[in-house]
Point group: C2
Chain length 145, copies 2
């Protein structure tokens, strides 16, 4: 029942605040979210944030302790976990689990600047080099036997 229970849009925004600050009160989160909102946009109500915090806690994404009679929330799930869940979902739903299919879409349909492309290539090259290195280790271990 506990494999990254899928968070909504605002729930994720709350998690972002918690990931950034490690711990925060409901009030701090409300203020932060409203600070982020573009001017003119209707602010989120404090009670809304509290309701969502409850729901997040109910599904095990966060926890709280009490300090000076006030709830202090902390994330339980880490960002990379949630990312993996969301990315996995996207891969399954639209890209037939093909990672290169997803990246192909990215470079084809999202506008990627040349610098971003360069960064992208470096990320992939780095990963390839790392994979090669650990393969080498494995091979030399096998040879040593």
């Amino acid at each position: 029942m506990n494999a990254t229970p899928k968070l909504g849009k605002v729930q994720l925004q709350i998690m972002q605040v918690l990931w950034a600050r490690k711990r925060a009160t409901a009030r701090q989160i409300t203020d932060e979210l409203n600070r982020q909102k573009p001017t003119g946009a209707p602010p989120i109500a404090h009670s809304t944030v509290q309701t969502l915090l409850r729901k997040l806690e109910a599904k095990g994404a966060i926890t709280h302790s009490i300090e000076e009679r006030t709830f202090v929330f902390e994330p339980l799930q880490e960002k990379s976990e949630v990312e993996t869940g969301a990315v996995g979902d996207l891969l399954t739903r639209l890209f037939d689990r093909s990672i290169s299919g997803l990246v192909a879409h990215l470079v084809k349909h999202e506008k990627v600047s040349p610098e971003e492309l360069r960064r992208l290539r470096q990320v992939v090259e780095q990963a390839e080099a790392t994979a090669q290195a650990s393969q080498d280790v494995k091979t030399s271990k096998e040879e040593a036997q």
Copy 2:
């Protein structure tokens, strides 16, 4: 009101069938979805599929015509559009709009085989070369003036 209205999980499965077959009746879609389901999983009811087809049409994702007194559905939105919407959503919600951030997550946390990594690098290199080429064209045009 019409910027890729976000489709649910089953709605996407229906769209996949339509994208693959170009056109299909509700019955064909139901059968296909149930064929795809792992054995033992409860089959989806035909009326469920029909309800979802209605909702999809209501939001402009598909349309239908009548042939031999039976509805034949066709996709209106194309796959790449929907992909762009879903990917954009993911980028906004979790990766601060950073494409290389997303790809970094992919190669770090999803298990990517060496072959897939190679394919990945080729995809990126290809895109880089293409970008370079169009940049060259633009440059030579400017020089020609």
